[in-house]
Symmetry: C2
Subunit: 407 residues, 2 copies
């Protein structure tokens, strides 16, 4: 697998565009469009929050119908959540405008929104934006990058990635972009994620791969424990690479799965590291768990703890907080079997052995924790299952950003 | 019921003492003792965290044995959690010293610790403290108040309360003290709570009352979502009021239950309001839920949301975050049925009607939210069950306190 430029435009036949619709932000793009020259198989995973934003309902219905799609329109600034019938009408109007401009059907257009909950979107601006985006589509790394920037809210930088690899001797591509960075929690985060690929794969296998990959990537990150109303991850596959069609499990499926997993893991870690106010990426790897689910639960409990996150910000090796978070995770275990290591920049320290603190140096630990990428490694000594969760520290800036988000 | 002075010393036969053992804090008391002239029935509830501090294991065993007790010794600064055999030996040594000084048995002495996890307690200081406390016991409002202050960690003020009421024509008393204020989350918080009463009640009925009361009081508060390793709530009943013994449910039990609930609710709300860094008490009342459990889950989900808490700090009526938190609580409901009100200082505003924002004034809402006691009232329109959860806002100071707690 070779990392390449081009983001969502790296796969053949995908174009992108960005536009400043002035929905809420000034002086930046706040709408993006993704378009495929050919019909795409589509797969999606969505928020589990029972309060679902209007575009989530729209996209879910399209994905469930199983027909091919051609485009996606995304806006930032307003989430179009808790907006009732007016919100749903706005989604339809936007899809209709995009379809009209692109000469496709409205149910070939997926819609994504992120931003403030409870406000109505200015439908005229969305409609104007859809037409402007359609006329500005191009296939270039620059267009992909502008689109990745246009979907940001409080993110500090865009998140995109692309790879080239081979399936059945044929060169294929996969690209992706996503945005974080607050209201981020498993079961989809406040994230919008768009994966494009020119791999020929059936809709069923695409959905299977996406659903499985999400479990250990996007669903293993947490910024603040809040599961958003808008989380949406979509994968578009247009088949233009002309590899032998993947319609069953097997070697080709495995190759695609691995590429999809690499793209999603990269975007997920980027989102965790760019959590609101975050100064560092915090990983927790739990190994030696009795079941895979328990490994995931334990790792996420540590990453989600406000006290662990605050200690990470303060570079304080207050490991009892990690052990405490394992303890209230809901998983049953014997604390006397737990070992814990802190790791950063290729240096590893054994902090807790058999549930009791070791004679480590606080100064050395503080120095290690000052890295911008800290790993907490936990061995439960119960079995052979492992999982990794990704989060960030809790900082003054998180509070600042969220105390005053709407103004 | 009449509110009275005297805290844990208000009921007949209870004495208290405080002492500066210099375990971690300087220039303040950091150990407290509670003692009853007569043997007490004892009831307790403890953390559900599988990582339990040594004193929690000690106390739980005593409560489960069902014998009467006489005293409690509490220290602050170090939690004696994740300390292995050395930690348990320290608990025994402290109980033995207190028992020796008081002329009672060591299994009549309950132990409580709060503070940093993972450090060993200086056993000599604990032992010296136990003897000093025993010689300083007295029954006075001042002694009760000093004890309530001595058990504080990052609390900004002591929490104590006492009431006088009647059972079967006999005047009886109940008092309590507790400490918060970080690592506070349902299923017992990082709290230590001590209730004293001179009511004559059987151990079984005392335990039943305490367990039931906790569900809607201490277990409905949250500061930061972290369930501590040390949470302990103990109720001591020495029977000195000589009311007709309460050994079955009935009118007298109901009267006692009501008094116990009042004391626990007062202490719980005080703890929420004094959460680390908090500037205000935030209540969420959910009514119209289909089941009592669902009402509790919904209310706690709102109170526990970092985004709701940050918005409360910023006096931002960002009600979509409340609706979002209801949505990811795990309870199934139709967002279109949800009404939401903000209330403070006898002013109430309808913010969200049938899942959609009303035409409220942002300025008026911001003014209302600037109160130091804000209520979020939610009507689910699904049934007739209700519950109230108690929390606080998320502030810079929370991060500051917890990024650097150990230094």
């Amino acid at each position: 697998m070779k990392k390449i430029q081009g983001g969502v435009c790296a796969p053949k036949g995908f174009k992108a565009a960005a536009y400043a619709a002035k929905i809420k932000y000034e002086g930046r793009d706040d709408m993006a469009m993704l378009y495929s020259d050919e019909p795409c198989e589509i797969a999606g995973t969505f928020t589990t929050n029972v309060v679902k934003a209007a575009p989530v309902i729209w996209d879910r219905d399209i994905v469930q119908a199983g027909d091919t799609v051609r485009a996606a329109v995304v806006n930032t600034g307003i989430a179009n959540a808790c907006t009732g019938q007016e919100g749903m009408d706005c989604v339809k109007a936007t899809a209709w405008a995009a379809a009209d401009a692109l000469g496709i059907k409205e149910n070939e257009v997926l819609i994504g929104s992120t931003g403030v909950i409870g406000m109505q979107l200015p439908v005229d601006k969305l409609r104007t934006g859809a037409y402007a985006l359609a006329s500005g589509l191009e296939r270039s790394p620059e267009a992909a990058n502008r689109a990745a920037k246009a979907i940001m809210t409080t993110d500090t930088h865009e998140k995109e990635i692309a790879y080239e690899f081979e399936i059945g001797g044929v060169t294929v591509h996969i690209g992706g972009m996503s945005k974080g960075s607050g209201m981020i929690h498993p079961n989809m985060c406040t994230m919008l994620g768009y994966i494009t690929t020119d791999v020929a794969i059936s809709g069923d296998m695409l959905q299977k791969a996406l659903s499985d990959v999400v479990t250990d990537t996007f669903n293993m990150i947490s910024v603040d424990g809040d599961t958003s109303t808008n989380d949406t991850l979509l994968a578009f596959a247009n088949g233009l690479a002309e590899n032998p069609m993947i319609d069953t499990e097997g070697m080709d499926y495995d190759t695609f799965y691995k590429a999809l997993n690499t793209v999603c893991l990269h975007l997920a870690k980027e989102m965790a590291a760019d959590g609101e106010g975050a100064t560092k990426l915090v990983e927790c790897e739990v190994r030696g768990a009795d079941t895979k689910d328990n490994a995931r639960i334990l790792a996420k409990s540590v990453i989600g703890s406000s006290l662990v996150k605050a200690a990470m910000y303060g570079c304080d090796a207050n490991w009892g907080r990690e052990l405490c978070a394992l303890g209230y995770s809901g998983v049953t275990f014997d604390p006397q079997n737990v070992d814990m290591y802190f790791r950063a920049d290729d240096k590893e320290m054994l902090i807790c052995k058999s549930g009791v603190g070791t004679d480590y140096s606080e100064d050395e630990a503080a120095k290690l924790l000052s890295s911008d990428h800290v790993e907490i490694k936990v061995d439960m000594h119960m079995g052979s299952e492992s999982a990794v969760a990704y989060g960030c520290d809790l900082t003054y800036d998180y509070v600042k950003i969220n105390a005053d988000y709407r103004s």
